[in-house]
């Protein structure tokens, strides 16, 4: 292929494989894999030890909790439904006619302002006549 693409310089093409590949990366990968396998074996041993000490209790507890299988393998709940009781038709209160405290306070304030203005004008007029 090299001779076909580049007949003159074909001898300078590399074969695609390094003569002296750097093995450092391979060693790191192998070491990581070995470490992970060791950790996995350790976890398995831990579970094996715990299960081995309690294997009959595991079965008793599985049998005791077997009624949970319906909930586990059945359809999952989609969420908590919110409901409220129906206490009959709701009728809004009729609007009340009359004066509420807010309106009374506003009216008193307006009357006070008008009164003060009248007193002020009367006083000014009396002074002008003098």
């Amino acid at each position: 292929l090299h001779e076909h693409i580049d007949p003159i310089g074909s001898s300078e093409w590399s074969s695609g494989t390094a003569e002296n590949p750097d093995p450092t990366g391979d060693r790191v990968n192998a070491s990581l894999e070995e470490g992970e396998k060791k950790a996995e074996r350790s976890r398995a041993e831990k579970i094996r030890g715990a299960v081995g000490k309690n294997s009959e209790d595991l079965v008793d507890k599985a049998e005791k909790g077997v009624s949970n299988l319906d909930s586990i393998f059945g359809p999952h709940p989609t969420g908590q439904a919110e409901t409220r009781t129906n206490s009959g038709p709701q009728v809004a209160d009729m609007p009340h006619s009359g004066v509420d405290p807010g309106t009374a306070a506003s009216a008193l304030l307006a009357a006070g302002i008008v009164g003060a203005e009248l007193v002020h004008r009367v006083k000014t007029k009396i002074r002008g006549e003098r």
Binding site: K46, V59, G65, V66, N68, L69, I72
Partner: protein
């Protein structure tokens, strides 16, 4: 040497198909040696299922989500599954060196059922899983 018996396998098959009555019937038939082997089979099945689901991601968030989802399926499950213990048992099986000495033994079977239910295995996949679990349990029984 104790080995996982055919009855113990049949009980496990019923359990992982969600057949509560079938499981009770099969477990009642187990003699003490077969019962011990069945306990190992529950533990080995849980170990394999937890690793299949969580070993690659090492994700505590996914573990928390799984346990929360399982507990939300019924009031009784919420009561029976201590979330901290359940999460620790899964993490310790799949990607941490936490201790499992004080774990409630009922969690192995409940978490196993939740993991298998989520996988929605075909009958053929379930048989493959059971065979793998039997091999590990036999190895553990030594």
């Amino acid at each position: 040497m104790t080995r996982v018996t055919a009855d113990a396998m049949e009980a496990m098959r019923a359990y992982l198909k969600g057949d509560a009555d079938g499981y009770r019937r099969m477990v009642d038939r187990l003699d003490p040696a077969a019962k011990k082997a069945h306990g190992q089979l529950i533990g080995a099945s849980f170990y394999i299922a937890a690793n299949r689901r969580f070993a690659a991601s090492h994700s505590n968030a996914q573990v928390v989500e799984f346990v929360g989802d399982l507990r939300a399926r019924s009031d009784r499950l919420a009561e029976d599954i201590d979330p901290r213990q359940a999460e620790r048992l899964i993490r310790a099986s799949a990607f941490t060196d936490e201790s499992v000495d004080d774990i409630d033994n009922g969690l192995y079977s409940l978490l196993l059922a939740g993991l298998i239910a989520d996988e929605q295995l075909t009958d053929a996949d379930l048989e493959t899983f059971l065979e793998e679990a039997r091999e590990l349990a036999d190895e553990w029984l030594g």
